[in-house]
Structures are given as structure tokens and as C-alpha cells.
Subunit: 391 residues, 2 copies
């Protein structure tokens, strides 16, 4: 035995990137509870409660509202692989990295993405979606509600009405909105949605909550043949989460314990109060950034849980992010795809959407930008943010 | 707010079913450490250590030795979807539930399984694999090393030699053997293997460790077109685990913390010592069961980590398992597929493979079988087991 492996001692980061966010100690405690089996009557109760609590945060009555045993991208693949078969056309809104990913997965399902493109940093317009629906045979429209790569929130109601008009299903990525950003699955007319646990739910990454209505259930049941994935086959997964409890795969017990606790916290706090906290923290952050002379990428439809801010010319992306991490123990995100090196992404998600974090990240940026030679008047950003919290 | 959701208070089960097994408190503690981001330099160190420790338990030098972000079945799908394309023939050993599952997934990949069948409870013979290889164009042979549905361990060396002779790759399911049952990926000539965390590693379910050699890496790279899954695409996942750290999906941080600790425990104990503990506990269990008049399903190639025992005529499967759980807090498994109602499955996995658990399960069965009218001489099974531990 040569190498010694030491005890795990991770640094105490403030996670203000695009996720994971910090996890509530109550969630970590729940995850450290002793395991029961995945067919234990006690675990069935836990599963039922998770389903109920997920319905609460999704604002839906959908029977099939469950966590998929993988991260957010697994939820994306689950939804698409169940909806899209060989030769199927799918209207996909592409205004960022995750829209691109949906388009890529549609292709892997053998489908043809009809891409409705928009500049990164802007929302997809209802007009362009209608045009794509009118010009194609698409039965599915796929949109990203909270585009984590650009900090844009996608308005959904008008497009939802269009999907009814054209007899299509509306699939929505709510990875970075669920639990933090106004979202009402049933009221908005969203037919199917997937999310992640590591953003506004303050739970570690590893599960993808999804919800689908009976229109989608029927659509999937009526598809010819079996879908190409066994692990993500909702017809099989459903049987384990419903009354028969038919074994499919071993559920990730501890992660589901954690998700239950994360949802329980939101349920106790109140969902609408959470949404308001995100709005306020986001407003304070943007005011602070603007006061420091920084601009956000999005000029409208700002996503409350994540802000993309343009890196000023002459300032080093890497230097600033490294110092944030190493000196201030604060993580923020860099740009993805075509925005690499051009933006920073600051996430204020779940319990992280609070006055303390806004002040800390502005203070650190204040100091580091000045070090980079960017003209910030000391404290100006902080004062602007404080004003919002004092309102 | 109507319903109250209480704090999580799971019962303290002794998990002697087919998995999950009990989790070492050190692993639960590691999982409750504060999160860092999936692109944090600290996490990259953790990833490198997990890779090294996985190589240790797999007994391999394979560069690509990583956990897949899903449960064991996700690992199965990952391996098959990367190896099998439209029209490909694959020799699949089917002597239990999990061989059947591999065959099903081959079909979903568009391939044709060439099933080599054997009675449930027996190993696949090298002769029948050779016949299938000679009669087909298969480039892949898929076998279950530790068939969790029957308690049979599959000898691999002879079949591995055959795959060389026929220029095929050997894929092996080691979900219930890794860390507990003799297994040497490189020495046995296994080209690619997937496992699970919730069996002999004593870590919660949620990850699937896999390992593949350069023969497989080349085979996958040489395949035409993209594979049908994005989430399980090893060409993409590899880039995140290798030097470039190219973002694919958000890694399940806490689960990987837990896996690292579970592997660290085995590394400190010594792998070969672990194998010996499993052999001894299994021997004691079987001696005890036999002394009570019970028969195992397998008559040879007994899997040390899981024993399938025939339910005696007139004894209620459900009554016994319910009482085990409710009165003794012991979980054992029922039969799957064609063995439903016919066998119990007793798992002694990782730290659960110990004298205490053998005695406790035999004592409980002793009492419950007598209650069911099955003639057991009180204590006879326990004495037979104790003899083994006193050797």
C-alpha cells in the first residue's frame, strides 16, 4: 500500500455559479440517515411524499411527477427520448447552450430539430415559434424556461396557447427555475418539464424532477414500438412510482431523502415567498453591478436566479474567477459556448438568494476589478444593492 | 398549508437483500460534507482519487475507470449503447434476470442479441459461448459475473480467451461482485465492465463505476456516427474526467464524495481480505441454511455476496419476509422473474459479510420457519454457522 488517501476536507465555498448551489445543512443531514431498501414500505411513503411535494413546487396536479435517477441532463434526455422517434420533427428554441443541447438530443433520438433561433441573451418570440409550427409537422415544442447559459427567462403563456392551436405538446426545461422563479406548470399549460436538484432547490446534483400530464402519457403510450432507452423509459419507471411498485432500477435512496428535505423546506417557507426573495436579490445584484459600471447580457427577461454579466474589456476572466475562488472562496461561472470569456454567470439560487451573498460577491468584484484596472468607485455597487434591500 | 411533512426518521434496517447494503457511517459523513462546484480544482483532485481507487478495486490499469452518473442499470445501458449499433449481433449470456435485461437493452440499441441460455441457477458454459461466436458475426460477448437474481458467479477466464480467438470484446456485469468477490479485470481479460455502488462497496445507490480498456476505447471511436444517447456518450463523458475537464453534465458531487470514502475504506482494509471475508460469511450462511434443511438454488459456482435459497414447500414467502422486516428489522430479497415466490435472496455484502449478520438472519429464519410449520431443530443452523467462524 503506497499512496495514502486522506479524509475528505472540502473548502467552504459560497457557490454563486450556475449550480450546484449551497446545500441546506438539513438536506445534508437527511442524506446521512440510514438507508432502507428501495422496496421497503417506509421508502414507499417517502416516495409518495416526494411526489406530493414536487407537485407543490411545480404547481401541478400531474399524477406522474417524480425524480429521474440522473442529473438535469438525464431529465432532458428522458423527456426527449420518450417523445421523439425516428423522423419526428421537433420545434426547438435555441437561444443558448441548453437549447443547443436539446437540439442535439433530438437528433440522437432520430428526430429532426426545427430550430427557432434567437440571439444568446434574448427570449424566443411566439411569432417565430408559430411560423415553425405552421411550416412543419412538429408535434412537440421544446423550450428552455431558464437559460442558464445566458440568464434569460422565457415567457411561456403565449407559446403554450400556440401549442394548443397546432395540437403540439410543450416541453420546458426548468432546471434553473424550479423552486426559485415563478413557474406554474398547469396554469401555463406546460405539458412536460424536467428540472434539476442542484439549483434553486439547494439539494446536491444527482436527480432530475420531471412532471408530465395525461396528454403526454397518452402520447407516449400511443407511440409505436419501444423507445430506444431502457433506463429512461417512462412506461417502465412509472410502474415503480405507482401503486404496483414494480422494480425497475434501484432508486438512489439517499439522494431521494435529500430531495424530500429540500422540498420540505420550500413547502414550509412558501413557494411564492421564495420567488419574491429571488426577485429581490436579483434586483439588488443588477443594481449593484450597474452602479459599478457593469452590464448584464440580457436587457429584458432577466432570469432572477442567474445573471449573466459582460466582462469589461481589458479585464481577465480567469484572473478574476481564480481570485474569487482562492481568496474569497466564492465560485461564479464563466461563459459557455460562444459566450466563453465574454461573460460571468452569477447564480443566486434558493437560500443563496440573500442579502449577504449579494454584498459579498459585489464587494469581492469591487476589489478585484479595481486590481484589474477597471474604474470602480469603491463601495458604489454595494451601496446601490443595499438600497434595494432597504426598500 | 394543510399537510405536515415530518422529519425523516427511517427505521434501522439490517439490509441483507440483493442491495442496497448498509452504508458505512464514514461514507454517510463524507456525503454530508459541504459541496464544491463540479469544476472546482478541489473536486478535480477528488475525481482523480476516485479514478485511482476504482482502478484498485477493479484490479486494472485502465485509464478510463470512472463512475457513471446513474445506478447500476445506467452503467449497463452506458456500456451497451456505446458498443452496440443498428444491426450489430451481440452474444448475451442469459441465465437470470440481469442477463435478460442486457438482452433487452441490446435490442433497444438496434442490435440483435444472440442469447446463450442456461438454467437460472447455473453458469454459462464456455462451449455454448464459442458456438454462438462461431455461428454469428458478434464482436461483443456480454456476461453477468455476479447474477444477483440467482446467486451464481460466472467463471470468466476461459470465455475471455475465446473472445480473443474470435476478435470480440468481453463486457461483464460486476454490479454485485466489485469489492467483495474475486475479480481481476486485467488478469481475466475483461475489456469493459460496469458495477454499482450499493452492493459490496457499502455506498448508497446512485453511481455506476465502469472501466474499459483501450481496445474498447478504439472500438467506440471507430464506430460510425454518434451513439443514440447523449447522457451516456463515453466520448463526451471521457473529456470531463480527463485533463481538459470539458463540462458535460453536472457531476453528482455528494455521491462521488461518498464513493471516494467507500473505496478508501476498502483500500485501507485490503481488497483480498475483503474477498476472504465474503467467502467465509457465505460458507457459514450456506452451512447454516443446509443444517436447517434449506437448499440453495445454485449447486456450484455459488456467488459469495448473494445466496439464493429455495423456499420450502408450504412456507409463505410473504409472511416470512414481512416478519423479518417488521419484527427483526432484517431485509432479504424475494425472487425475480421466473423465480418469484420460489426463492429468497440473502445478500452479505461488504461490511455486511460478517459473523453477526449470519447469526442474526439464521436465528430469525429459525424462529419464523418453525412458526410456518417447517421442521427446524432449534439452533442447529446457528451452530453449523458458528463452526465455520471458529475454524
Amino acid at each position: 500500500m503506497e499512496k495514502k488517501y486522506k479524509e475528505l476536507t472540502p473548502p467552504q465555498r459560497i457557490l454563486l455559479g450556475p449550480g450546484p448551489s449551497n446545500v441546506d445543512p438539513r438536506v445534508l443531514k437527511a442524506m446521512s440517515m440510514p438507508l432502507v431498501g428501495h422496496l421497503d414500505p417506509y421508502f414507499f411513503e417517502v416516495m409518495d411524499e416526494v411526489t406530493e411535494l414536487l407537485r407543490y413546487v411545480f404547481k401541478t396536479k400531474n399524477r406522474l411527477t417524480i425524480p429521474i435517477s440522473g442529473t438535469g441532463s438525464a431529465g432532458m434526455e428522458t423527456c426527449l427520448v420518450n417523445l421523439v422517434g425516428k423522423g419526428d420533427e421537433v420545434v426547438v428554441g435555441v437561444n443558448g447552450f441548453f437549447g443547443q443541447r436539446m437540439s442535439e438530443i433530438v437528433k440522437r433520438c432520430g428526430g429532426t430539430p426545427i430550430e427557432v433561433k434567437e440571439a444568446w441573451g434574448r427570449a424566443i418570440s411566439a411569432e417565430s415559434v408559430e411560423k415553425a409550427l405552421a411550416d412543419s409537422n412538429a408535434r412537440v415544442v421544446a423550450l428552455v424556461h431558464a437559460e442558464t447559459s445566458t440568464g434569460v427567462v422565457q415567457p411561456l403563456k403565449e407559446i403554450s396557447n400556440l401549442t394548443r392551436k397546432y395540437d403540439a405538446l410543450l416541453l420546458v426545461d426548468t432546471v434553473t427555475s424550479l423552486g426559485g422563479v415563478e413557474l406554474e406548470i398547469d396554469n401555463y399549460g406546460v405539458d412536460i418539464s424536467y428540472s434539476g436538484t442542484q439549483k434553486c432547490l439547494n439539494c446536491p446534483p444527482g436527480l432530475s424532477p420531471i412532471t408530465l400530464n395525461e396528454r403526454v402519457v397518452e402520447f407516449i403510450r400511443d407511440r409505436e414500438g419501444k423507445i430506444q432507452s431502457w433506463y429512461f423509459d417512462l412506461n417502465l419507471i412509472e410502474k415503480y412510482w405507482e401503486a404496483d411498485r414494480f422494480y425497475h432500477h434501484t432508486a438512489p435512496i439517499s439522494m431521494i431523502y435529500g430531495l424530500r428535505e429540500a422540498l420540505r423546506i420550500i413547502y414550509e417557507d412558501g413557494l411564492e415567498k421564495r420567488w419574491a426573495q429571488h426577485l429581490k436579490a436579483n434586483k439588488a445584484l443588477i443594481k449593484g453591478l450597474n452602479a459599478m459600471g457593469l452590464e448584464t447580457l440580457a436587457t429584458e427577461n432577466n432570469l432572477p436566479s442567474l445573471t449573466a454579466v459582460k466582462i469589461p474589456e481589458g479585464v481577465s476572466d480567469i484572473n478574476v474567477r481564480k481570485a474569487l475562488l482562492n481568496v474569497f472562496n466564492i465560485e461564479i461561472g464563466g461563459g459557455l459556448g460562444e459566450l466563453k470569456g465574454k461573460i460571468w454567470r452569477i447564480g443566486l439560487m434558493g437560500m443563496n438568494a440573500c442579502e449577504r451573498n449579494v454584498i459579498l460577491v459585489l464587494e469581492a468584484l469591487d476589489r478585484l476589478l479595481r486590481k484589474e484596472g477597471f474604474p470602480v468607485k469603491p463601495g458604489e455597487g454595494l451601496v446601490a444593492a443595499m438600497d434595494v434591500f432597504q426598500e
